[in-house]
Amino acid sequence: MRKRCVILFMTILPVFVFAGCKGKSSAHDSNEMVLHQMLNSKIKCLDPVLIQDEYSMNVCNHMFETLYQYHYLKRPYQLVPLLADGMPEFSGDGLTCTVRIKKGIRFQDDKCFPNGKGREFKSSDFAYGVRRTADVKSLSPNWAVIENKIAGLDEFREYTKTCKTAADVNYSRSIEGLLTPDDYTIIIKLKRPWPQLVDNLMVDVRNAPMAKEAVDYYGKDIIAHPVGTGPFILKNWERASYIELVRNPNFRGEPYPTEGDPGDKEAGLLDDAGKTMPFADKVVWTIIEEDQPSWLLFMQGKIDARAIPKDSWNEAMTATNDLTPKMKQLEIRLYAFKDPSTFYLGFNMLDPVLSKNKPLRQAINHAIDRETFIKLFFNNTYDIAYGVIPPVLASYNPDIKNRGYSDYDPNKSKELLVEAEKIQGGKIPPLKIAMQGTDTFYRQYGSFVQRQLEVIGLNVEVEYMDWPTFQEKENKRQHQIFAGGGGAGIPDAQDSLSEYYSKYWSPGVNHFNYKNPEFDRLYEQTEVMMDSPERTKLYQKMELIVLEDCPAAFLDHRVRYVLVHDWNKNYKPDIFGYGLSKYYKVDLKKRAEYPELLNKVKD
């Protein structure tokens, strides 16, 4: 035994020596301002047209710019020009939109351009980006949003279907509604009014302007060679471990916003007003899929900001939802903010058992104890979802919680179940619930729902599948009950409500395959309405129609609790903006002193 110990010790010894020596790479210029951020998922691609996830959108937005962006400080969210010069001009009927773009903006230097020098950004680059989304050969998953909106674009898509290969598509084909009369003007002609035109087409990075040279030069490898006009350029992308961006030397320099909400000035958010962005020389996102390691890195000061992981909650927060004294001593700031998301248990309305049986769906709806759910899984922080529209949106109906659609009432459920069995003509067959993951969270989530439904006497089988399988079944309309959810991408409830529009059945966004003619009528009516109190009223009416039909049991809206180290200046929660690193600034002195502070607090 002793020998074994000695040998063990001998193997540990060199390891200690290794751990003791410092790596080369960590010794960098101390005056360089580096932002250390983290992602808990791998970046899939850096080609805007193929983006499917928020993480890639976030990173891409640092390199690609769009015509407009949301004001960083002002709430409610306001559009401000980015590449565009001034706000868009709409014709009287709202069908023609003219955008002028800033002159003298250059792409980053890249070998795809002649002599490797980035050329000037032109209006045709925007049109090219939109055409790529429409091109069926580029396999963009984001076409549905702009489908049937811009005159001639759908015909262009039809044309691309007739082409044999991607190389055959003629991008110079004219499109009636996508005009670039000169290098600095874009004219968009719509088939019918589209109130979300700017949000969906000119803010969303997935339709960002692209340089055709880059796409032609890199071919399929364009996913790893972003060429944009943004404040940062790609330096290093180690797919599974980190992604590193550095300041774009060609960047024109954008001024930090000079106005903000009340309170922003006091919070120091206007200290840099008017100064040229970006402030940071480098942004590094470390990709860490496990919660614990990234939490530890945050506590060691190696990551600037991080949401509190579920299982480390008690370390950071007290019972009264305040930071623990330790966190306060470490000068960590807490930001709690709602995000525009809704999570639910969806019912497939094409399923023979569920579709004809509203009492059954309602019985399930009332059998789920949302309060306990949020307590067990989200440390009591999320909001109960009483309806479709998340509370952060302006059209949220504050009265909705009194309607009782999300009440936990097992007795009522049991009564409803009796009724349901009459409709079914016998016992309800075992129901299947699909979970989009196989990890601990989903397994516990699944077994929670299962137990809740067992209480009212429903036999449930939970099927855990990996995300691709879940998606495939969703697209093929094969789920019976499924755990799903998602966030609105733009500050407009239309995004959330579109999930119930019958023309968007799976593989579209309506995974419930829900159809209600009245809802559809109102949806089509609001689709062409500009923001107004009438539209809000209609939105709320539509929401009630959905709740009455019960195509889903709505569970929760996410609330984020983010911790930020004190050195990370200019941090403000922004749920619709991406590419925010350009605003951030690091107090390098403070960051350098943190290890000392950490040592003091530990004792």
């Binding site: 614990q292 909650w313 196989t438 601990t440 516990q444 939970v462 099927e463």
Partner: protein, 308 residues
Amino acid sequence: MTENTRELKPPKGVSFWQDGLHRLFRRPIAIVCLIVILLYFFLAAFIYLAEFFHWQIGPAIWSQATGPSYQQPCMQNILGTDIFGQSVLRKMLYGAKISITVAFSASLISIAIGLPLGAVAGYFRGIVDEIVVWIYSTLSSVPYILLILAFAVVLHDKTIAGIKLAGITSVYLAIGLTSWVDLCRLIRGEVIKHKEREYIIAAKSYGCSNSRIIFKHLLPNVFHIVIIIFSLQFVSFIHAEIILSFLGLGEANRPSWGAMINDARIELARGVWWQMVAATVAVFFISLALNIFGDALRDSLDPKLRVQ
């Protein structure tokens, strides 16, 4: 030592099995291990019965809450509780059923493939042998863990011939379909050796049919290899189930040791160590017992057998 004792006995015929088992039962540790293994098997069988007859007994009603969420080990819950207040002890006991089912089914599949293939290849030689050797050489040239994973990924959630391969079914199919190679190789070698022995030649000269020779004469004489391999592979199957569970390819609806260890991975952060310890201990004892017993079995029945 054994030779001495045999000489002292009256000159009575001792069969191969009697001799082997006699040697085995002279090792007290082996007996203790066998008892432990049998306990696990009885536990699994008992849970099957309890579930079938709806007995309201401990492990069969693991899903009932017995305390608050994440309760520390205490008097009511000796091994504490999990997120839903379910008793970890019950889950641990229930896990025996899943693990034993997986390992047992996988063993049966691997024997069902390896034994006949090995016997046929060794007996007939020629083209049949070439094909069998080719198949197992191919399988064994892919790293074992990769092979299991590839099978498990492909079979997971697939519907083949109308049967849905959910949960543990795909797990034991993947393990069983990939791990018959060792057994097949050993059986083939043994059969080739036995084929030249007098008793087979005699049987042939009597005009016994090939199937009769294989089933009546050859298989009983190589069957000890099956038992040795069974006991030694059983451990690795239990461990394989844990790894597959961790990778999300295993049982998800019922508690299994792999799932418990996997849950503990994130729960350790809030100081919940009891799930992990419970599952580790459960795996530890059956593995230890199987390892020691398997070794003892091999030493008593066929000490020259080389198993990886």
